[in-house]
């Protein structure tokens, strides 16, 4: 960066902005953790979990939440001085819900503008709670502009990270592309998205909206960590790839290698919405023409691709303050400027049109009228495992409930055989034996052989897998004097997810390549310096 005069850190807006962003990021993780805390607290199992998870990640998270939430609340409840103040703690823990998409903080519902629009468009309903939930963000945006984008949205951190990685690429002489997409594209994304949502009734936009995705990933990660801890696996682990993390990863790679700031500047439908409202903002960046030396540093640095040097800032400014920080002559500063009357009228009409969007009374499920705090992760799924194999004339079906068994928990297996030709079910006995596949290829029988429980032509078995690992289910049955055996693999837990191996390999390879290249460049520069001297 060619900032001629670097301000001391406490005078730089960037420091405060980054601090706010990181706080929000920590808050995104804290919200689901606090929810878990409240859950254990209300189930009166908090002390037990903290004790039994001592020295592990989930234990540390619970201990930390306990310490933080107890700040300022004296110990003692029900006349016992040492007892944890449960009621007060619960009230405090339940004061936070949600994510960057939609949250309730201290009893006040707030929802992201895009979330509000999507919810209203999908349900074609405008409920009072949605109106009040939108009020604070709307007012904040009307006063401060797109500050949500510049100061709060976690995408800001990812984008900044992409810029840093880009600098590394430039240092490594890898010449990343620098593509520009017209910033107006985001209004198209917003309009098209809203139309599709309105037409189909499906809330689709949150699948591509980073603040929603970050919140969702945080919830999923926390849920997975604690769910696993409850079944005895307390180590750190990788949740695995979801569509959300893949989308974010793709954005990161795209911004790093091809188009810095692409998402926020040109594509984000939420950003478009905030820009529309931010038109009427009170807080603005203003240039004092007298101090300006036309150096164009601010134009180069603006992540939104605006031009402060020639006063072409417009409605897309998110008040990030990068240009204010960077200006060598301090010609740029924030000012308060009330909107003109003409514009105030437009603001009122925009808010009104938003409020009366849709007329029917389709009910949004669960929390009436306000978007979900988080999505799938709130409703644990129990995937079913289905294995099919053909032996001779029989087609064999083995179904497991759940499909990804938890160690130590009784599971259910259903076996069913049907003749492929006659479609008649097999009526004889089917025996199941379960083996644990140990290292060195050894196998240990942990269940059966057992002919299970008959339910008409369905054969039911109830094995329990003691530990995480690979198992083999061996089914045998006798038909016309011939014993047939079938072997099905069963994986309990995640004994080495393939993605972990691939991810680890790719990450190690990438950092190794970077290292090699850096060493080569350093070496060449040293040679060049030697030659010059």
């Amino acid at each position: 960066m060619k900032t001629a005069t670097r301000l001391p850190w406490w005078k730089r807006i960037a420091v405060y902005r980054r601090a706010v962003q990181l706080l929000v990021f920590a808050g995104l993780l804290a919200l689901p953790i606090t929810a878990r805390y409240a859950h254990y607290l209300s189930a009166r199992s908090l002390d037990k979990t903290i004790d039994s998870w001592r020295g592990t990640l989930p234990g540390a998270l619970m201990g930390l939440s306990d310490k933080a939430l107890r700040l300022g609340i004296p110990d003692g409840e029900g006349g016992v001085a040492t007892r944890r103040p449960r009621k007060k703690l619960l009230a405090r823990a339940r004061a936070f819900y949600g994510s960057a998409w939609s949250a309730r903080l201290f009893g006040v519902s707030m929802t992201d503008l895009l979330a509000g629009v999507e919810s209203a468009a999908a349900s074609r309903t405008m409920r009072l709670v949605l109106v009040t939930g939108l009020a604070i963000p709307l007012i904040a945006t009307a006063l401060l502009g797109r500050v949500f984008c510049g100061w709060i949205c976690p995408m800001g951190i990812l984008s900044a990270l992409a810029r840093k990685t880009r600098e590394l690429l430039v240092f490594l002489e890898l010449k990343p592309f620098d593509l520009k997409v017209d910033p107006r594209a985001k209004y198209f994304v917003l309009a098209a998205g809203a139309l599709v949502v309105l037409a189909t009734g499906l809330p689709l936009l949150h699948h591509i909206y980073p603040p929603a995705l970050f919140g969702r990933e945080a919830h999923a990660w926390v849920a997975a960590v604690f769910d696993r801890a409850e079944s005895g696996r307390t180590g750190f682990f990788w949740v695995g790839l979801s569509s959300a993390s893949l989308f974010l990863l793709a954005l990161f790679l795209l911004e790093t290698a091809a188009a810095p700031g692409l998402w926020c500047r040109s594509l984000c439908p939420g950003g478009a919405l905030y820009s529309l409202v931010g038109r009427f903002r009170l807080l603005r960046v203003k240039r004092k023409a007298a101090g300006c030396v036309d150096c164009s540093i601010c134009d180069e640095l603006c992540p939104m691709g605006l031009f402060p040097m020639t006063d072409r800032i417009g409605m897309e400014c998110d008040n990030c303050g990068i240009c204010v920080d960077a200006c060598p002559t301090h010609a740029l500063s924030y000012i308060l400027k009330p909107p003109e009357k003409r514009r105030a009228g437009k603001l009122a009409s925009a808010v009104l049109s938003l409020l009366f969007l849709g007329a029917s009374t389709v009910e949004a499920h669960h929390i009436m009228g306000i978007p979900h705090y988080s999505y799938d992760e709130s409703y644990p799924q129990a995937p079913v495992l289905k294995l099919v194999e053909t032996v001779g004339p029989w087609e064999f079906q083995l179904t497991g409930y759940p499909g990804n068994p938890t160690p130590g928990v009784r599971t259910e297996l259903h076996a069913y055989a049907v003749a492929t030709a006659t479609k008649k079910a097999f009526e004889g006995d089917i025996e199941l034996e379960v083996f644990e596949v140990l290292a060195f290829g050894a196998k240990k029988s942990i269940y059966g052989p057992d002919s299970g429980r008959r339910d008409k032509s369905l054969h039911k078995y109830f094995p329990t897998y003691a530990t995480e690992g690979n198992y083999e289910l061996v089914l045998s049955f006798m038909d016309e004097g011939i014993v047939s055996t079938l072997r099905f693999p069963m994986v309990v837990g995640e004994p080495g997810s393939p993605w972990t191996a691939v991810g680890l390999f790719a990450a190690c390879l990438a950092s190794f390549l970077v290292l090699i290249r850096a060493v080569r460049i350093k070496r060449r520069r040293a040679l060049g310096a030697e030659a010059a001297a």
Partner: protein, 596 residues
């Protein structure tokens, strides 16, 4: 090579053509059985032997009728067992999903031992031969590059690269299948392609095409592309402490340990991890070190196949050494604008062994005199002229001998008894007793070999213990190689056909890409013919071992009579190893991929 040949010229021709005659003969021998056999009347194509559980081709199988049904058997022995107690087997026949394969019959074993003994002590030693000079290696070659078009193809810049792109794609596919396919080893193509087709087939490739695997090697190909795309590596010198192949030897022993001990051959995911691990090693070395240091020093596949390739029937050499002698530019070693320098620091002017050549064809591109040649040659050509025996190579040769025997042993029922015995006797876990026994199986043959060399050196003190130890180790290579071949032939011919079913559903996801997913393929060979092949291979290996040992003796112990006597302990050792090989083949073998 054929010392009793009528004239040197016919002898040389016979020596060069022998490997190919043997290959063709084996193929015909295997195929003729199926071609000649009448189609099974019942229309059944493949059936399961009710005694041992092997799947057999109905048209070549032994049959026995019982209660109006025809039963099919892999061998006469199985049929006889069935005939003794037909009701018992018919009621509870063996199923097809795991089986124990019968070993060679006792009569064949005894005949094999007799032939081995006869060859060793009967007449082979009495044939008078002249000692050869080192120039003898140049006789009996057939230059393939003299054929029209061959050299032009090898000189094309992208010819090898295209071949490598194909193998690399296959390699990545195997990794993907191992990681993301079903973890049921019988339904995933990764274990079969890796362990049965590639690892077992490697021996056949080396035997006939020398270092051709290195030409195809996907590890080096990918590492090379990564190096090019990332703009080049650091080009450090390979550490001098590692300028030997001990690291590769350790890798080979470690691979055998995880292969047989941890049973990664039946864990698709672990198979993929091993492949990725090797890839990491290859990429890491390519970026850190100059040329292809990993191929030269560290790669276990390169070193194992390199040592075996001293025996192989194909070589890259200077066509005319006198042109090399007058060459001042040395492009083959230093590289030029048409190609890279030799990646493994070989220099055509002096190169007289296949071991460290990767057959990358760069010297064909760089040599301005078109003096690089790709030649067919007799088996064992490098072994008879072995120039500078090295301790690390000698140890690898001995490790190959003991590890291939160990490999065979672990598939016999004795292995289970042995480990079970140690587990109860020493109270150790399976993994510990496995490791202990593997250590013993690695150490004992080498110890026995050392004792035998001690005896030889006592009989001929002028040769020196160390020299004899290193030189005779190379004589063990043919024995190891051909037992390896006999053992792997079983895997390839018996399990190989399953590939055609798996190719339709490589990940075990219920696909049927080529319509062969649910076809049951019977083995390519009947058991009787396979046994014949196996015994033949062991005997051929033994003969070549004798020949190399005789050549070594002549070189180290000039006095003919003392040489003959000093060689006796070695002969006893070789007979011992060959008889052990035959004994192993006699044992029933538990096949590694279930549900064959």
């Amino acid at each position: 090579m054929k010392m009793n040949a009528p004239s040197p010229r016919t002898g040389r021709i016979a020596a060069v053509t022998l490997p190919w005659v043997l290959l063709l003969g084996s193929a015909l021998w295997v195929a003729s059985d199926r071609i000649a056999a009448p189609r099974a009347a019942s229309g059944v194509a493949a059936a399961v032997d009710p005694v041992c559980g092997m799947s057999v081709a109905a048209r070549t199988a032994h049959t026995h009728a019982f209660e109006g049904r025809t039963w099919y058997f892999c061998s006469r022995a199985c049929r006889d067992s069935f005939a003794e107690n037909p009701a018992g087997y018919a009621l509870a026949p063996a199923t097809g999903d795991s089986h124990t394969m019968r070993g060679i019959p006792v009569g064949m074993y005894q005949a094999g031992v007799a032939i081995v003994l006869l060859l060793s002590f009967g007449f082979f030693e009495l044939i008078p031969t002249k000692p050869r000079g080192s120039g003898g290696s140049e006789g009996g070659r057939w230059d393939l590059t003299a054929l029209p078009g061959v050299r032009a193809f090898l000189k094309r810049p992208l010819f090898i690269a295209w071949i490598r792109a194909i193998t690399a794609a296959g390699f990545l596919f195997v990794i993907a299948a191992g990681l993301f396919g079903t973890q049921n080893p019988a339904a995933n193509i990764a274990p079969l392609l890796t362990w049965t087709v590639w690892w077992a087939g490697l021996v056949v490739v080396v035997l006939f095409f020398g270092k051709a695997w290195c030409t195809l090697c996907p590890w080096d190909a990918i590492a090379g592309w990564v190096e090019t795309l990332s703009g080049g590596g650091l080009g450090l010198r390979w550490p001098s402490a590692l300028r030997n192949i001990w690291f590769a030897v350790a890798l080979f022993i470690a691979l055998t340990w995880v292969e047989l001990g941890m049973g990664i051959t039946v864990i698709p995911r672990a198979t993929a991890w091993v492949a990725l691990g090797m890839l990491a090693l290859a990429i890491g070395s390519a970026l850190l070190f100059e040329r292809k240091a990993f191929c030269r020093y560290g790669c276990l596949v390169g070193r194992v196949s390199g040592l075996y390739a001293m025996f192989g029937a194909l070589e890259v050499r200077a066509a005319d050494r006198s042109i090399c002698a007058s060459c001042r530019t040395m492009e083959c070693y230093r590289g030029g604008d048409k190609g890279d320098p030799c990646p493994t620091h070989q220099f055509l002017r002096v190169m007289d062994q296949n071991t460290y050549c990767t057959m990358c064809a760069e010297c064909f591109k760089t040599c301005p005199h078109d003096n690089a040649a790709l030649r067919l040659r007799p088996w064992g050509a490098d072994l008879s002229v072995s120039g500078k025996p090295r301790a690390d190579e000698a140890f690898l040769a001995l490790a190959l001998l003991s590890m291939t025997g160990f490999h065979g042993l672990t598939m016999t029922p004795h292995w289970g008894e042995l480990t079970a015995w140690l587990e109860t006797a020493a109270g150790s876990s399976y993994s510990i007793s496995f490791s202990l026994l593997m250590g013993a199986m690695l150490g004992l043959p080498i110890f026995a070999y050392a004792l035998l060399v001690r005896a030889s050196s006592a009989l001929a003190p002028e040769a020196g213990y160390r020299r004899l130890f290193l030189a005779y180790a190379y004589a063990m290579l043919p024995i190891a190689l051909f037992y390896h071949l006999a053992h792997n032939a079983e895997h390839l011919l018996m399990e190989g056909p399953k590939l055609f079913a798996l190719i339709s559903d490589p990940l075990g996801r219920g696909w049927d890409l080529f319509g062969t997913a649910s076809t049951v393929f019977s083995p390519w060979v009947t058991l009787e013919r396979l046994w014949g092949l196996q015994v033949l291979f062991v005997i051929v290996g033994h003969v070549y071992g004798l020949w190399v040992s005789a050549a070594t003796t002549r070189r180290l112990i000039p006095d003919r009579k003392r040489g003959l006597i000093a060689q006796l302990p070695m002969l006893a050792g070789m007979v011992g190893f060959s008889v052990f090989s035959l004994w192993l083949l006699m044992q029933p073998m538990e096949m590694r991929v279930s549900a064959m």
